[in-house]
Amino acid sequence: MDRKTILSELKKVLAPYTENKELLNGITEETDLIKDLKINSANLVDIIIDAESAYNIEIDFDSAEKMYLVGNCIDVIMDKMNQSA
């Protein structure tokens, strides 16, 4: 799975926690989940767990704390997918 495909799939993971769907459609790797997408920080654990289910991976504590930019999320997801391949 390439970065573009993961980004597209990630939008589905983020959708339940994002009020502004227009902003969500326009996300890039530089988009900050809290500052830009206005996602409530209380939903960050939900997003990590939903990503674990969507990509069949396990995201450890150290990796989870990097997941504040969309690009970082993609890095972590790719890394974990490669580990479990």
């Binding site: 206005k38 409530n40 209380a42 960050l44 990590i48 767990i49 504590f61 989870a64 704390e65």
Partner: protein, 208 residues
């Protein structure tokens, strides 16, 4: 290091079932915090409330520390609550640690929300905080309402033209007559609930 940090959790928005799943709460609570729940009386608190109480403590501590360490990234598991005392009227207080920083928290839990404020001393006399209910729960409604709520209280103490701006690192800056007051302010909102805290120990220091 004078700062302030607060948080509010709307209890009707939490997913009780998911919160009680190990894969969820183990991303928030450290092993020692999971063990702390076995403390007598504390385990009478529903587990999902315990998890979100500690979340609000950690989020408040993060906001407190972020003002002085702008590169800090929120990692709930690395902020550790070490003691929790149960006080009357569903008040909880205790200590929370991050690296070498020791902070103190004060929390209230009721049927609707959990509200927490953090300070660097176990004395909250000059730390002001309050919670308010709003009708609209859209992000921008909450954000506007919480600023208005905090400014109304601040204006009773500091008459004049006050406004809140946002630092690039994300925390609020209180401006009075176009100058940074250096009074640390923290804002929080979740669902229909908004809350603020500010620490007037900063003003005492400036006077001295």
């Amino acid at each position: 290091m004078i700062s302030t940090g607060n948080d509010i959790v709307a209890l009707r928005s939490i997913n009780k079932q998911r919160t009680c799943e190990y894969r969820f709460y183990s991303k928030i609570l450290s092993a020692s915090e999971q063990a702390l729940y076995q403390q007598p009386q504390l385990n009478e608190l529903p587990f999902e409330h315990y998890v979100w109480l500690l979340w609000s403590v950690k989020e408040s501590a993060f906001k407190y520390l972020k003002r002085y360490n702008q590169q800090l990234v929120f990692s709930p598991i690395s902020i550790n609550t070490t003691t929790i005392d149960i006080l009357p009227d569903q008040h909880y207080c205790g200590e929370v640690h991050f690296n070498s920083n020791k902070l103190f928290f004060n929390s209230i839990i009721n049927n609707d929300w959990i509200s927490t404020v953090v300070n660097n001393a176990d004395d909250f006399e000059n730390v002001f905080s309050d919670v308010h209910v709003i009708n609209d729960k859209g992000y921008y409604d909450q954000s506007t309402a919480v600023r208005k709520f905090a400014l109304e209280k601040l204006n009773t103490l500091f008459p004049g033209e006050l406004r809140l701006e946002k630092h690039l690192a994300g925390y609020p800056i209180l401006i009075k007559d176009d100058e940074d007051t250096k009074i640390p302010v923290s804002l929080a909102h979740d669902g229909h609930y908004i809350s603020y805290s500010f620490n007037l120990n900063a003003v005492k220091l400036q006077v001295n």
